[in-house]
């Protein structure tokens, strides 16, 4: 008969093997095929000239902004009003599909629920499975390009290198721009463009953008806050497939039984609106936000009455803010917002003292 301790061998060996496997898996994979070195300007050019309109991938987003995390009860449900705000707290996974400038779909995958935004041609659909509601908007036909979506798209006339130089000239004075060690994102070797504010007064520690070495597609963004080890905000692909996804992905018809809401889209009328536009513009001039400081430590001041007394928002604000001298403070890792007692709102990526100082100047 074999000794007794020998019989326990599998019980020891199996966890050891699993622990070794887990450890090996968690080690950061070094970029096996190092990319040719590039200057920050060349990397910016790479981003500017990227044209990868067809892809499907999975995005993972996590934020440690210091906002109170909204409770997530397992299979339950939460109020729909906070559904989109909830995107700022806690981790999220989303699948993204794109094919050309006119076809896109984003699926935010929640537990036992999903939020969808689909663009197919000029139709834009939103669907929330939690309350089975859909919303539809019809984009005006001439407004083919969605300027928000493809930032470096065809309608920008500057060439990529001009654009890169312009951008660099703009951010250079207050920011150190460097290309860090190559990183691996979604299994692809990527340049790591690191922007570090020169100013000590800002809350932003650094911003790192991972740029795909082959295509120039931005693969991930990481914003680090000062005095916080975890990134304050991070979004990156965990998997990415280049190439057109199945066309059926973009076809959406609201499911039977869903509540469909039609969102009216304002037509961009160029000529006849000009007369009317002057009146609101004149009224707006004295409630325009005032900016003090420059670069990273600038402070924006909104005049009183900007933050309208929307009933939902105030209740939420009461919960999220803490009373400080002169008002209430909404403090996050990256941005501080000070709501003054007289109704003015000062915000900036700076510590509270600077906000108070800026508020006192007036």
């Amino acid at each position: 008969m074999t000794p007794k301790w020998l019989r326990w061998l599998p019980a020891v060996a199996v966890p050891a093997v699993i622990a070794a496997g887990a450890l090996a898996g968690s080690l950061p994979a070094s970029a096996g095929d190092p990319l040719p070195p590039k200057t920050p300007e060349q990397v910016l050019q790479l981003i500017a000239q990227h044209s990868e309109p067809a892809l499907s991938g999975t995005l993972e987003q996590s934020s440690e902004l210091g906002l109170p995390e909204l409770p997530k009860t397992g299979a339950g449900s939460d109020a729909s009003g906070t559904a989109w705000l909830e995107l700022l707290t806690g981790p999220h996974t989303a699948r993204i599909y794109r094919d050309g400038p006119d076809n896109a779909r984003i699926q935010v995958m929640d537990r036992l629920a999903e939020r969808n935004a689909i663009r197919h041609g000029n139709d834009v659909w939103f669907y929330n499975s939690k309350d089975n509601t859909a919303a539809h908007a019809q984009l005006p036909a001439d407004d083919a390009g969605d300027p928000g979506r493809h930032s470096a798209g065809s309608d920008i006339t500057a060439t990529p290198d001009q654009l890169a130089a312009m951008l660099l000239a703009k951010i250079e004075p207050g920011t150190d721009v460097a290309v860090g060690a190559d990183v691996q994102v979604a299994g692809r070797a990527a340049y790591n463009l690191v922007l570090t504010p020169k100013s000590d007064a800002t809350l932003v520690g650094s911003i790192a953008v991972a740029v795909d070495g082959q295509t120039g597609l931005p693969l991930g963004v990481e914003i680090n806050a000062r005095g916080q080890s975890d990134p304050a905000f991070r979004v990156a692909y965990t998997s990415l497939t280049l190439g057109a996804p199945d066309a059926s992905v973009f076809a959406f018809t609201p499911p039977p039984g869903a509540t469909v809401e039609e969102i009216p889209v304002k037509e961009h009328k160029h000529g006849n609106d000009a007369g009317n536009a002057t009146a609101p513009a004149a009224r707006d001039s004295n409630r325009k936000p005032a900016v003090t400081g420059s670069g990273w430590d600038s402070v924006v001041e909104f005049p009183a009455g900007t933050a309208g007394p929307a009933s939902d928002a105030t209740a939420l604000l009461e919960q999220a803010t803490v009373p400080v001298q002169g008002g209430r403070l909404l403090s996050t890792a990256l941005v501080n917002v000070l709501v003054l007692d007289d109704g003015r709102v000062v915000a900036g990526s700076v510590p509270l003292e600077r906000l108070q100082a800026a508020a006192a100047q007036k």
Partner: protein, 249 residues
């Protein structure tokens, strides 16, 4: 015990049938869809039974495997037969695994059956807002049952191990069920985020990924890997314990 599980979808279906319409977003997920489509009874029943009822029955079955025989005093007679302890352990675990496969299947199929009997059945709306036909919906339902079967394999391995520790079957059952509850409580605490991917209950409710279009297989794979790890670790522990155990009863 399978009858008790089958009672869950029947209860849900009857309750929705006799009550007024459920407003969306209230109660367990998919509850509001039942009145439109009977197949959702199966899905809702699985959502309801995952946190407690399925682990409860699996805990009872798995906790009873070895300790039940020991408690009745029949374990030593089983071991007199020249079959070997390893084989007995494997057979016992296979028995528990069969239950683990059958239990979610019973919930799903009873749910679909009672739903079809009491409510209209038609194309099913997925989480992504796309609709699929009834046949494909049944496949998805079976896939979810398979997902839950895989999910519970880890727990049944834990139950098997605990069952080799004691001669009191009730103790083993209770310990297994308590462990599953503890794991779910830990999974709900954001402060223990680093621990979450290691909890056997972590992916239990992620079967919703099978109701997306296109199907997201990531959680299925991650869950299978995790449960495989649990089966290996606690299977090895149970082997070590059972092989070296002095069987007195």
């Amino acid at each position: 015990m399978l009858c008790a599980l089958a009672a869950i979808p029947i209860l849900i279906a009857v309750a929705v049938r006799v009550s007024s319409a459920v407003p969306p977003g209230r109660g367990p997920a998919f509850l509001d869809r039942i009145a439109q489509n009977g197949l959702f009874v199966g899905v809702t029943a699985m959502v309801v039974s995952v946190p407690l009822f399925l682990p409860l029955t699996v805990g009872v079955v798995a906790g009873d495997t070895i300790a039940g025989e020991a408690g009745q005093g029949t374990l030593r007679y089983l071991l007199v037969a020249p079959a070997g302890r390893t084989r007995l352990l494997i057979i016992k675990y296979a028995g528990a695994a069969v239950f683990v496969v059958v239990a979610p299947l019973v919930v799903a199929l009873t749910g679909a059956g009672i739903g079809a009997a009491l409510f209209p059945v038609g194309p099913v709306t997925l989480l992504s807002g796309d609709t699929i036909g009834t046949g494909e919906a049944m496949i998805r339902l079976l896939l979810i049952a398979a997902y839950l079967a895989v999910s519970l394999l880890g727990l049944s391995a834990i139950g098997l191990f605990i069952s080799t520790l004691t001669d009191v079957p009730v103790g083993a059952m209770a310990a297994t069920v308590v462990l599953s509850v503890v794991a779910q409580v830990l999974d709900a605490l954001p402060q223990l985020e680093w621990l979450h991917p290691w909890l056997f209950s972590h992916y239990w409710l992620d079967f919703g990924d099978l109701l997306r279009q296109p199907v997201s297989w990531d959680s299925f794979a991650a869950n299978a890997l995790l449960q495989g790890g649990y089966v290996a670790v606690f299977g090895a522990l149970a082997y070590g314990r059972f092989i070296t155990k002095d069987v007195l009863s």
